[in-house]
């Protein structure tokens, strides 16, 4: 009788530990799988050929630069939309909106996040891209901009939800202190609340970026998928082909073990490394800011 809780304790601890470690193990396994399938591409295709501007895999043109720039343009565009809108909405919900409005709005924003991206893609094809073509007088509405707008809409709910939680958990005393010193509401938000919630807000943004880089379906439907180099300022208004859309569109067709197959895995590896870099940057920034905050407090 005495031993049973102890046994349970060990058992539950073991399960929890397994869960914790399994995430790490899976990431490492996936990474090694990507390495194993992707690295052969570097030997099968000359490095010089890989970094060219022509992507036409069925005739052995494996230039991945258009795909890299395509993903970059769409992601940056989406973040330019999602960051101000996401933080703005979060600030409004946490600091300005009355309690009742917040209780209606926040679940609605989170519901937006629950809309499958393929449905947003449909709206993009049927409504957004024709509108963009007519409104901006473009040759076609299937552009990086359409992709960026949709991705922005996909990233905003994640960003808002987490940033709002972070703002909400800033102690009320901070705001009262600022107001007592004569700061206006805006000064309090900008100088006190937002900086205090910085790490949470940054996490929100990084998760938003993560969703943006990895999103596939909506992007494939609205960006036109033309593998052109997106290096001019006007590239946002022209069709692009992203890395995720390329993998999704072509993975089904390739023969196992062919060069094309390995190059697609190499693209997956590059995507993985980009996400990793974004996450490492984010956590180091958060870590630094925390250390400084601790220094200030001590």
């Amino acid at each position: 009788m005495d031993k049973s809780p102890n046994w349970r304790e060990t058992f539950v601890t073991a399960i929890v530990k397994t869960c914790g470690y399994s995430a790490v193990v899976f990431v490492i396994l996936i990474f090694f799988f990507l390495l194993r399938q992707g690295l052969p591409a570097l030997f099968e295709v000359k490095l010089g050929d890989l970094f060219t501007t022509r992507w036409y895999p069925i005739e052995n043109h494996f230039g991945i630069l258009p795909l890299l720039t395509g993903s970059l343009v769409v992601t940056v565009g989406a973040m330019l939309i999602a960051i101000p809108f996401g933080i703005g909405t979060a600030v409004f919900l946490a600091e300005i909106a009355p309690r009742w409005m917040r209780e209606i709005l926040k679940p609605l924003v989170e519901l937006l996040g629950g809309i499958p991206s393929v449905v947003l893609g449909f709206l993009g094809i049927l409504l957004l891209s024709p509108f963009l073509r007519v409104f901006l007088n473009l040759p076609t509405g299937l552009t990086a901009l359409a992709g960026a707008l949709l991705l922005g809409a996909i990233a905003i709910p994640t960003t808002v939800s987490i940033a709002e939680d972070a703002l909400d958990s800033v102690p009320q005393g901070y705001r009262e202190g600022a107001l007592a010193l004569g700061a206006t509401k805006w000064q309090t938000i900008w100088r006190v609340t937002l900086p205090a919630a910085r790490s949470g807000v940054l996490t929100a943004l990084m998760l938003g970026v993560g969703r943006t880089i990895g999103e596939t379906m909506a992007v494939m439907m609205v960006t036109g998928n033309a593998p052109v180099m997106a290096i001019k300022l006007t590239s946002i208004l022209s069709p692009v082909r992203t890395m995720t859309a390329t993998i999704a569109a072509e993975m089904g067709e390739v023969a196992n073990g062919s060069t094309h197959y390995h190059v697609l895995f190499l693209i997956g590896l590059i995507l993985f490394l980009i996400s990793l870099a974004v996450n490492i940057t984010a956590s180091s920034v958060i870590f630094k800011s925390r250390k400084r905050a601790e220094r200030v407090l001590s």
Partner: protein
């Protein structure tokens, strides 16, 4: 409650994946059989219509039909995961080599014919083009509709993805004008859309667009803006139809194929024989494709 069908489906998939030769059940008559059919998106609607009709006549046979593109279907045949691969292009030498390496022997049957219709927005006044003009448009030599006698508008080129048999056929027959030494490619700014619907939808709403797709996929509202094609400028401009495909006057038409592993046997053989029968070929015509014979 929901999990039960899912588990069934998953176990079915696993069974068919590990079985090596799915669908080939015992030869005794009257037994049920499960035929997996996958490949060309051009053929998928036709294959579905056939499968539906055949299953009502033969309740003991179940047929699953999926699309994904000719390349996808052939890849699945090579990997041994389907019984019949649909393809809107012939299997390549490379693919045959891979199949042989996997112990698969692809056998080809022509199941119907198809015309590739080139289509523009109804607002676009251009209604006839030569093969050379279409090639110049898609390879990026002509970038404005004035170059082919149209309005002053930029040309937006639409194409299927590279895993589509229609894409490969169009590249070889139209852009390269059937010349195997020609290495012209699609202009890089050609939009590669993942589905026929994507192309039709963009052509319907964008007056700058030009697209191509199987004749069976052109909806009635775009039938009037299908381009009449001539082999050279002096020749006759021909609109795609069952008649013009059968008398070989429409230059952009092709055979559609099914591939099996080895000569078909049992239920698969019966099914393919039925597909070639007049009854099934009538469905071909109903869906806008061109029946064989």
């Amino acid at each position: 409650m929901k999990a039960v069908p899912l588990i069934l489906l998953v176990s079915l998939l696993i069974c068919s994946a590990c079985g090596g030769s799915p669908g080939q059940t015992t030869p005794s008559a009257g037994t049920s059989a499960y035929i997996q059919n996958k490949g060309s998106d051009t053929i998928v609607n036709l294959a579905l219509a056939w499968a539906e009709r055949y299953q009502t006549e033969h309740p003991d046979i179940s047929i699953s039909v999926t699309g994904g593109g000719s390349g996808t279907g052939i890849a699945a045949l090579i990997n041994g995961t389907v019984d019949i691969a649909n393809a809107s292009r012939a299997i390549t030498a490379d693919e045959i080599k891979q199949a042989k390496a996997n112990g698969i022997n692809p056998v080809q049957v022509v199941i119907s014919r198809d015309a590739i219709a080139i289509v523009v927005n109804p607002q676009n006044p251009v209604r006839r083009l030569t093969l050379q003009q279409i090639s110049d448009i898609y390879s990026g030599k002509i970038n404005n509709w004035t170059g082919v006698g149209g309005d002053d508008r930029p040309i937006v080129r639409l194409s299927r993805e590279t895993n589509s048999g229609t894409h490969v056929y169009f590249l070889q027959t139209v852009i390269r004008l059937g010349d195997p030494k020609n290495t012209t490619l699609f202009s890089t700014d050609t939009l590669l859309l993942p589905s026929s619907e994507g192309i039709i939808n963009e052509v319907r709403q964008n007056p700058n667009a030009i697209g191509y797709d199987g004749l069976g996929y052109i909806p009635p509202d775009l039938m009037n803006s299908v381009i009449a094609v001539a082999v050279d400028a002096g020749g006759a401009y021909v609109i795609p139809s069952i008649t013009t495909v059968n008398n070989n006057s429409y230059p952009v038409s092709r055979d559609l194929y099914m591939y099996t592993n080895g000569q078909p046997t049992g239920a698969i053989k019966d099914y393919i024989n039925w597909i070639l029968s007049p009854e099934a070929q009538k469905i071909v015509a109903d869906l806008g494709f061109v029946p064989i014979k």
